[in-house]
Symmetry: C2
Subunit: 214 residues, 2 copies
């Protein structure tokens, strides 16, 4: 029964969900795998196959009901509830993360923020006050935190991650440029724009087209 669902499939579902939400806002009622695929740059067959891991959500000859499919995806991904997150490292990037309006509407609530630097500790951002990272264990002891966001310098990141894991966090969104080590029950996703750039340059490099149009 528990057929293994590939990670790649899980990674695509949020993309489908985002597109469906957009279609929904535009008032669209139904969409075919064909159209959705064109919009997202994936093949219709892939969308249908991905969805088929979870059930039968479409109607032959019609396509998918946008609202219905969006709800199903939310349920599948666990987006039909709130997730509690903490941010560690409130520098440039940490500030941007804390004041980003894109998390809360999706059910991702940042409930604590920590930093090591005295000039940041105590600072109020939104309705959070930055606490000392040294007191993180205690601060998190009573509460249930699902996800830790790491935005410290690379040198501090692994120890911060260890502390988050100790505190019961089961997923890490890691902005620091390191390969994090975590126990197997903890998920990690890395966000590193430099790695993204460095893989794109491979293709740019060999592009012979080189002249800016005069």
């Amino acid at each position: 029964m528990p057929i293994e669902i590939p990670d790649v499939v899980i990674d695509r579902l949020p993309v489908y969900a985002r597109a469906l939400a957009s279609l929904d806002r535009q008032g669209r009622d139904v969409v075919s795998s064909q159209e959705l695929g064109a919009q997202l740059g994936v093949t219709p067959a892939q969308i249908r196959k991905d969805l088929s891991y979870f059930g039968r959500f479409g109607k032959q000859g019609r396509g998918y009901n946008v609202k219905r499919l969006l709800e199903e995806l939310h349920q599948i991904l666990g987006l039909d509830r709130k997730w509690r997150m903490v941010v560690v490292g409130v520098g440039q990037l940490g500030h941007a993360v804390l004041s980003y309006g894109g998390f809360a509407p999706q059910g991702f609530d940042i409930v604590e923020a920590f930093d090591a630097d005295a000039s940041v500790i105590g600072k109020q951002i939104g309705d959070l006050v930055v606490k000392p990272v040294a007191a993180m264990r205690e601060a998190l002891a009573g509460q249930h935190i699902d996800i830790g966001i790491v935005a410290t310098p690379a040198a501090a990141a692994q120890q911060v991650i260890d502390a988050l894991v100790e505190s019961g966090v089961r997923a890490i969104l890691n902005y620091a440029p390191i390969a994090a080590h975590v126990p197997r029950h903890v998920r990690v996703k890395d966000i590193d724009p430099v790695l993204s750039l460095q893989s794109m340059t491979f293709y740019l490099k060999s592009d012979l087209a080189h002249s800016p149009p005069k």
Copy 2:
């Protein structure tokens, strides 16, 4: 001769390069695929296979010379030269990007910044002055820009991307939560923390372990 190299392989090379740079800073001279793999959480066989697309860089019985392999990877990825980038959208995130110290040391230079908002235009950040996005075409007309970084709200992102492509940019680092449409000769990498979170919750959701250790 031009054996097709899988995209997944290209995506891993920067990760290897980053680890090698770290080993190099630690004064390590050689490393085996075994050790590198353990550090990065990939199998040694995968590392060897990936590298074998490009040549033979190791010595049997020894492993890889750290400096040598790092140089080779830099060459392969095109990191042995400078890349010129522009940032469009200088809000919270754009600020963090502009003042991020992690790009320049890797050869990624931000040479212009644009925004639509009068309260940001003219502002100096580092040694750049934010210019009006309306004048982007003209500002970029003379120069060769390799990569565009998009940090505008979603609603503006596609038109900004179109303008960047028009200006001759061949790669886009897109922070906006949209599925960008670009001509085939343009590369896009998306950075979207919400998508990352939304795929991790799939696994958290089904985790039965739920209680924070008292």
